[in-house]
Amino acid sequence: MGTVASHNGELTGAAQPFLRIDAVTKKFGGFTAVDNVSIDVRKGELFSLLGGSGCGKTTLLRVLAGFETPSLGRVIIDGQDVTDLPPYERPVNMMFQSYALFPHMSVEKNVGYGLKHEAMSDTGRRDRVRHMLDLVQLTELSGRKPHQLSGGQRQRVALARALAKQPKLLLLDEPLGALDKKLRERTQFEIMNIQDKTGITFVVVTHDQEEAMTLSTRIAVMDKGIVRQIGTPTEIYEYPRNRFVAGFIGSINQFEGAVADSANGSTAVDLPAVGGRVRVSHKAPPPPGAKVMIAVRPEKIVITRNKPSNAVNAFKGRVQDLGYFGKDSLYRVKLASGVLVTANSVNARRAGEHERIATWEDEVWLSFDPSSAILLMD
């Protein structure tokens, strides 16, 4: 979406970041909720803060909104240091997780509330409200009170209200958290559309990795108040930089091992779990003897009945569990070492129950390409 991001997720280009979170720390008593976090967000980005509960993502969002003052660090929006500005003086609006719609006001009044403080004509206000209601397709319900709306409609009112003031930065706290699965998928695309149309920079807090992957131009993965990695969804998924990110995003097979040798971008690692040596591609391999982790996504492991002739990394196991999901199947294969490996295989061909690659207790071969494996040092 127009964002220039390098391979490792850092922003490139000469332009200043639109939102700069500069070494922000927030402490509550002895507890550090946000620990020295620095993030740069470009104008027009849809940036996600992703992490489990208690990782500090919501605190960081509240720091951006102005509800919390950081213990250390600065927040700069569009060149303006807003660290010490109260919420009502920031060019920022927020969509609350609970939506926080005013129960005593109609949809129209809710959406128009923030415009009361804007220097604009009554007609201008009315036009803006109508435009916002159009944007979220709620024009017919403008006279209703929040309690007369469904969850999805409330969510859209909250979004329209937060957008009405045309903020420089829109903060969304778990925007889809309260919706059911079907509605969530539809709303996801609605939010992306609206973001595209308005061009406003969005910062989204979410614990749902799928949501973050679909929505975002870039993601910051947070854990215990620390940013573990910043990058595009692809970078986060395919090139996690540490064990936390690898394990947090999607499912992954992880094997502990030690580097044996490395040459020409190919590193050999001894993995006791698979009972042998595997080769992985890695640009900056660690020295021989270094303790590392090899992580392989289930869908990158190929499962076959016979030993693949040209595979670099192949090992034998027995199918212990089999899950059939229609479009794909999940195999849990027990290796000789007792370690369970998960492999995912797409059901590209139509096949009956007896024509599957393998079934329970079958002996199978697992293999993966050196470029599919991730070598992690920390």
Binding site: F67, F96, G143, R144, A162, K165
Partner: protein, 327 residues
């Protein structure tokens, strides 16, 4: 449920209940008797201890005073009732004045209770944990002492030689020129004293419903309003105040209604030449032994309080219905 209960009754083998009347009564009780009794009991209570006495008082107000016991009698001829008492309510300026004094004193006391109680209730919702409980305890602590005792304490405080009076006098004397300096403030036996003691006595009845209302308000609404550009006082005006209206009305009624009929406070600290209506009722009943007149005054007071409440209720439910129709 019902089926299984009937079955249980059918297979009653204890032999304690003979078949027939006892059996069907027990069956009826099991089916719906207990439920009906529980639902009906508050209605029975209201009927017996509110509606019935009220009807008796209305009837009494249409009788005339008599030297009998009880001291009233109905007319011998059709229509057996007498509207003289009701007419006197409007003709005799004593009653009109007493009503106006009551409403005036109760109105001012209610307004002052709201002005004092609202910030206190709001403050209590803003503190956490132990302190909140301590503050709530302080609000209801006066109830642990007899009401009468507390009114007598105020009599002591308001007397010309009390430290409280001297303190207030000194304070006022600082503000006024020396030649107008007071020796003491004549507080006792004034409407000021009535209002002061009523505010003191009824303040908890304002604070508690307000607190219950404010405590339930969603704090993120305040944040949302602030996020949309409202300064703290605007947040209060646009969000907290309108959403606490039910609490204000509940607290207001809980103060205004008993205050307008208050007997003890005006009798003990009030101006006897400018009585409130409660005192008039009391005097008519006990001193003048004019039960019908006292009843008429009481019925009129009740209507004065109930009619505005009913109008408000209708207005409120109509507003509710209106918003639903619009959707």
């Amino acid at each position: 449920m019902e089926g299984s209960r009937t079955l249980a009754a059918d297979t009653d083998t204890t032999g304690l209940l003979p078949r027939g009347a006892g059996y069907s009564l027990r069956n009826w009780f099991n089916r719906r008797g207990w439920r009906n009794i529980i639902i009906a009991s508050p209605y029975v209570w209201l009927l017996a201890f509110f509606l019935l006495p009220f009807l008796i008082v209305i009837a009494m107000s249409l009788a005339t005073r008599a030297g009998t016991s009880p001291p009233f009698a109905f007319a011998d001829t059709w229509p057996y009732v007498d509207f003289g008492n009701i007419a006197r309510l409007f003709e005799d300026p004593v009653y009109v004045r007493a009503y106006l004094t009551s409403i005036y004193n109760a109105g001012i006391a209610t307004a002052l209770c709201l002005l004092l109680g609202y910030p206190m209730a709001l403050a209590i919702t803003r503190v956490r944990g132990t302190w909140r409980n301590i503050f709530l305890l302080l609000v209801i602590l006066p109830f642990w002492t007899s009401f009468l005792l507390r009114v007598y304490a105020w009599i002591g405080l308001m007397g010309a030689n009390s430290w409280f009076n001297k303190f207030l006098t000194a304070f006022i004397n600082v503000l006024v020129p020396a030649d107008m300096a007071l020796r003491s403030i004549p507080m006792m036996n004034t409407n000021f004293a009535v209002v002061l003691v009523m505010v003191y006595s009824y303040l908890p009845f304002m604070i508690l419903p307000l607190y219950a209302n404010l405590e339930r308000l969603d704090g993120t609404l305040n944040e949302a309003a602030m996020d949309l550009g409202s300064k703290p006082w605007q947040v209060f005006r646009d969000v907290t105040l309108p959403l606490s209206l039910p609490g204000i009305i509940a607290g207001g009624l809980l103060v205004f209604i008993p205050a307008s009929g208050e007997v003890i406070i005006p009798s003990l600290v009030g101006d006897a030449s400018d009585p409130m209506i409660g005192r008039v009722i009391n005097d008519e009943f006990s001193a003048a032994r004019d039960w019908p007149m006292a009843s008429a005054v009481a019925v009129a007071l009740l209507f004065m309080l109930v009619v505005p409440m009913m109008l408000y209720h209708r207005f409120e439910s109509r507003a509710q219905a209106g918003s639903e129709v619009k959707s």
